[in-house]
């Protein structure tokens, strides 16, 4: 027995006996990163404000007051009023609901589709991979923005169609990324080991490969939320996204652009809101990338 016991072990593990899931480890790593925490707090605050919008907002988002149009920031209207006398602060709060949910829903949908397609292609390869990837090539050859425009023009404007349009255009990106990391992992010995102990394909894909292949895709997804918000803003800007009077941030920018010379606050506040959302998600994404990299552990 004595001969069998390793005595020269180098790294005695710190977490002796205590169960710590990979998720907990990643979380621990993430909250050590100041930028990531700042991003997390910022996006968290925005989400809470969006949820509590009816409580916090001093006015209804579509309440017009034509006697007080183009007011600058003041005590009654913190961010001023727009061309129809609507309170910009209230509209931004309500707008967060649209913008954030569009961003998150679009990314969630394309992530699910992209990850499954990519995982299948990367794992099975061969003809399936060939056919699916060529189809995705076709999708990807159309610029994302153009694709979103085409889809929402076909489906008609509106929140739900906007989400669908945005998610379709980003599926190929996720699929491609997932496929690449699956190809990397496919030849790892632990996949072969799983096979040698009789693990079926499904288990190998979901238990062994996807968790190890997800890191770059998760990071891409947090950044993707920011991109989706921006593209949704552009869609609204050309009138294909969320329809007025719904206060989507991009729509507010579009409405305000006619008055940008005389009343810049009409575009400034929604612009700042978009910028903060994108910034916080990017910071969070950066932090996640580091936290998910096993080489940086400990």
């Amino acid at each position: 027995m004595a001969r069998k016991t390793a005595k020269k072990g180098k790294g005695a593990p710190a977490n002796a006996g205590k169960k710590e899931s990979m998720l907990a480890l990643t979380w621990k790593q993430l909250i050590r990163n100041k930028m990531a925490v700042a991003g997390l707090i910022l996006i968290g605050v925005m989400a809470i404000l969006a949820i509590l919008a009816p409580v916090i907002a001093p006015y209804a988002y579509d309440k017009q007051d034509l006697y007080h149009t183009f007011l600058g920031p003041c005590r009654e209207h913190w961010f001023g009023t727009d061309n129809l006398g609507r309170d910009i602060f209230s509209r931004i709060l309500y707008g967060a609901r649209y913008s954030l949910s569009i961003g998150i829903a679009a990314v969630a949908m394309s992530l699910v589709a992209g990850v499954s397609l990519g995982a299948l292609c990367g794992f099975y390869g061969g003809k399936l991979d060939m056919i699916l990837m060529r189809v995705l090539d076709v999708f990807q050859s159309i610029p994302g923005m153009l694709m979103a425009i085409a889809v929402s023009a076909t489906l008609g404007p509106g929140l739900r169609n906007c989400i669908i349009a945005l998610s379709i255009s980003s599926v190929p990106g996720y699929a491609r990324m997932m496929r690449a990391s699956m190809l990397n992992i496919r030849d790892m010995e632990y996949v072969e080991a799983a096979r040698s102990v009789n693990a079926r394909d499904g288990r190998i894909i979901f238990r062994h490969m996807i968790p190890n292949a997800m890191a770059p895709t998760i990071v891409q997804a947090t950044m993707g939320v920011a991109t989706a918000i921006l593209v949704a803003a552009s869609l609204s800007f050309i009138g294909l996204g969320v329809q007025p009077p719904a206060p989507e941030w991009g729509a507010m920018l579009a409405d305000g652009r006619n008055y940008i010379r005389d009343f810049p606050h009409l575009v400034m506040f929604p612009g700042i809101a978009i910028m903060l959302a994108v910034l916080s998600l990017n910071m969070l994404g950066d932090g996640l990338r580091d936290a998910l990299d096993p080489r940086l552990k400990n």
Binding site: P13, N15, E189, A193, V197, N198, R207
Partner: protein
Amino acid sequence: MVDILEVKNLKKYFKINSGQLHAVDDVTFSIQKGKTLGVVGESGCGKSTLGRTVLHLLESTDGQIFFDGEDVTHVDAKKLRKLREKMQIIFQDPFSSLNPRMSVSTTIAEPLELSGRFGKAEIGSLTDQLMDTVGLAPRLRNSYPHELDGGRRQRIGIARALALEPDFIVCDEPVSALDVSIQAQILNLMQDLQEKRQLTYIFITHDLSVVRHISDDICVMYMGQMVEKSPSKELFKNPLHPYTKALLSAVPVPNIHKKQERIILKGEVTSPVNPPPGCRFAKRCRYAAEGCQAPQNLTEVSPGHFLACHRYQEID
């Protein structure tokens, strides 16, 4: 003694753009229960492919595999699952053979779980037993591979292979990625396990001192073919194939007075893609002659000593 594994004319070709890569070409051998067959050869000679083909991790191109007297060359999925519980593998690189996101106990419990034969509590206690068997402290249960050193990781790999009490294990260079001090520990562990459990090993390695230490028989591979096979002692005492001679001359001898002649191989390595018939070593062989262009058959030159070289008597 019964042969637990018998391999006849096993071939594994890979289709590549420029033709067929003959990774394993016409390899025949058998192993008795409880013995160890060492497989040596340089990188890329098909050692690992041989091991994986025997385990059905790769599909064989041609030839036959018998396990426990039964032809298992082509088996259906159900049979294969049964077979894999009896045949296991220990991998070379303990850093890539363990899923970085699975804890020690999860990794070891996986084969038990997948066999469907055990309840949850049973799996837990069996996992504990296995960890004890391979010398892993119980406190490491919930550690992750990246927290452990190479030796401990390799012990996890061994425990995983042992979980379903296999009869036969392919050891694919199990110690070549480890420090020398750890190598000895792991080799001792493997030998202890072999004695206690009557395990049969195919021990793949390029390290001749290791293979000498652990093997009963040794087979030397070159470019996918077996060029010499003999009992371990006999091979080291009396190597006959020119390639084996060159290989053995590279083993350092711990004696400063004994001057040993080092055979340095020259010439071009034959490509394993669409190789011509005949001896594949001929281009590098200092004894090569005309007859070497003809296929070389493995013949028994003395009891248990097989050789694929027609000129062995002339070159001594």
